[in-house]
Amino acid sequence: MPSPTETAPLHLQTDILVIGAGGAGMMAALAAAGQGARVLLVDRALIGRGGATVMAQMTVAVALGSELPDSIAAHFNDTIAAGRGLCDPRLADIVTRDGPAAIEQLDAWHVGWARHPDGRIRQAHAPGHDKARCVYVDFLNTGPAVSKTLRAQLQRHENLITRAGDLMITDLVTADNAALGAVGFALSDGRPVSIAAKATIIATGGLTRLYRRNSASLNMSGDGYALALRAGAKLIDMEFVQFFPIGHLAPRMIGMDPIMWDPFRYKLGGRLLNSEGRAFLADYGESADAGYVTTRDQATFAILKEVEAGRGSPAGGAWLSFRHIPEEELRAAFGPVIERLAANGIDLTQQDIEVAPIAHYHMGGIQVTPGLLTAVDDLFAAGEAIGGSNGANRLSGNAITEALVFGEHTGRAAAARAATRQVRWSDAAAAAALARVAATGPARADIAALVVELQALMADKVGPFRNEAGLREALARIGTMREQIGDTPPGQPGPYDMARIDWFDLRTMLLVAQTVASAALSRTESRGAHQREDFPAMDQDWTVNQVISLHGDELEIVTAPVPVLERAA
């Protein structure tokens, strides 16, 4: 074996540190550079390759009005309604108001929004919207196109924006409740890294990796939630995990995103059937013949109830059928995707496929002001990493919109803040975090298995349906797993040590899992994405947010009234 990495820690300095290079992080970097700030944009994956944005299949919701007359107010109202009373309307107002400008900016950067022959941008009608409002890039290419476009813009600002992939951030550094920067390590050689910044932006996305079946990248372990919580910031609405109802289940496919059936339903409708061939959404108060209109929380509920009643598909989901749609129509709508399905042995004119709910997005996250500032001074957050704008259930299509809009806002806000600050760095404040990434611990063979076990535990006990006994069981096991992994990472700093990376991930995932399960346990009602079998009804008294903070090793959960939007006269 080679000797441990003996290189001294690498210390970097910047005006603005952006953690996470998905849609929100890249947009934040561009906006901050636009104000003249120097930016260091880091990601544990490669820049613009990990995260959720790159995996978006289709819809980006925005009141452009290019299909039918539309208004900011209509989009705002749909967003608030989807959130089941818990949206922070100040944040939803920002997303819906500034959405059109963000989409036009991407258009000017040649993202390639699908257009009508007359040049109008096409908009699809997604569930929960009152009209066609979602722009997209064909075919199933919205995320890759947005990511590629933002990466190209980053390269045009190389004088101000430094990009660093393969860099894992493990802790923020704070003093006097202000963020001074961060500590982490380089994946390629294990070398400890410290970064001093005048302002720090968390744009690490959500927590879908906590679940066995999920639709997002490996790096979505809830990193930003743990970083923020440990630094003294607060989390909000952590009990609301969105399950995408019709994630692909069977037959096994390769090279296709599990949420790909969403665009198929937008364009072609399709029929969701139980084992008896019945379009069961009507049994749950939904209009079975009105097209693809059921919101995600309600569809997830209906599918899982059918499975529970013994009317599921063989693999444990529902059937999705496009057999009534002629092949020419399929090809017109999805072109090359039909060939990719054929390569997987799937002919939609001849067979139905099986779908089931899959962890997709997190409504909760870091609590921020309308200025995207956390409870820690000089620490901002953007995109899926923040909570509040989507309440108890996110409207289809709002995720990329909020990534772009909040990214832009937070980049500007952080640049304005940095302009008033000097770099303040404290070796003492960073010492514990630097010692952790430099530490040597006993090798262990169980670390990847523990990740798999946690994912199963969360799916089974803290998934779409919860009850008190299951949540307590989950919390107990989370506690013993935390004892199992201890305080020291296994092995020594070295190149791409995945057991060590998994250890740091588990440290994050166990804390974040605890916040989700704890908030789910204390919310004794059912609302949106949070469904309690022992409290099946919505309770008006629970029209409040839950806010979590960390004191030592103890979580504190308090309720807070839902903020109100005071519109300027």
Partner: protein, 111 residues
């Protein structure tokens, strides 16, 4: 009935070492990818086995490029088969560890 297995012969090394080949058997289910096989090995046998991937199944991140039976493929796109398959890192990129190579653009690396 004996369940069919896929046998992955994985080339492992740190920079500067002579690569060694390790043999892993994983239960074979039709439709699985080579990446599925490697992830299963990590969870059940050796969490230190290094492979770079991000999107898992969507062919979106383009991070899991390596060689299977000498041919450059994405691990998430190459199907597992119930036979011996030789898995190696990219030959034309600097080795970081095992199946992980330096594929980040030069201007996206620190230090």
């Amino acid at each position: 009935m004996t369940r069919p297995v896929a046998i992955l012969l994985i080339e492992r090394a740190l920079p500067g070492q002579t690569p060694r080949t390790e043999r892993f058997e994983v239960p074979f289910d039709p439709g699985q990818s080579v990446l599925d096989g490697v992830r299963l090995i990590r969870a059940t046998a050796d969490p230190g086995l290094a492979i770079r991937y991000s999107c898992i199944n969507a062919n979106a991140c383009k991070e899991c490029m390596l060689r299977v039976d000498g041919k450059v493929v994405y691990a998430c796109m190459r199907r597992l088969e119930p036979r011996e398959m030789r898995v190696q890192p990219l030959a034309n990129k600097a080795l970081i560890r095992d199946l992980v190579t330096e594929i980040a653009p030069p201007d996206e690396r620190i230090g």
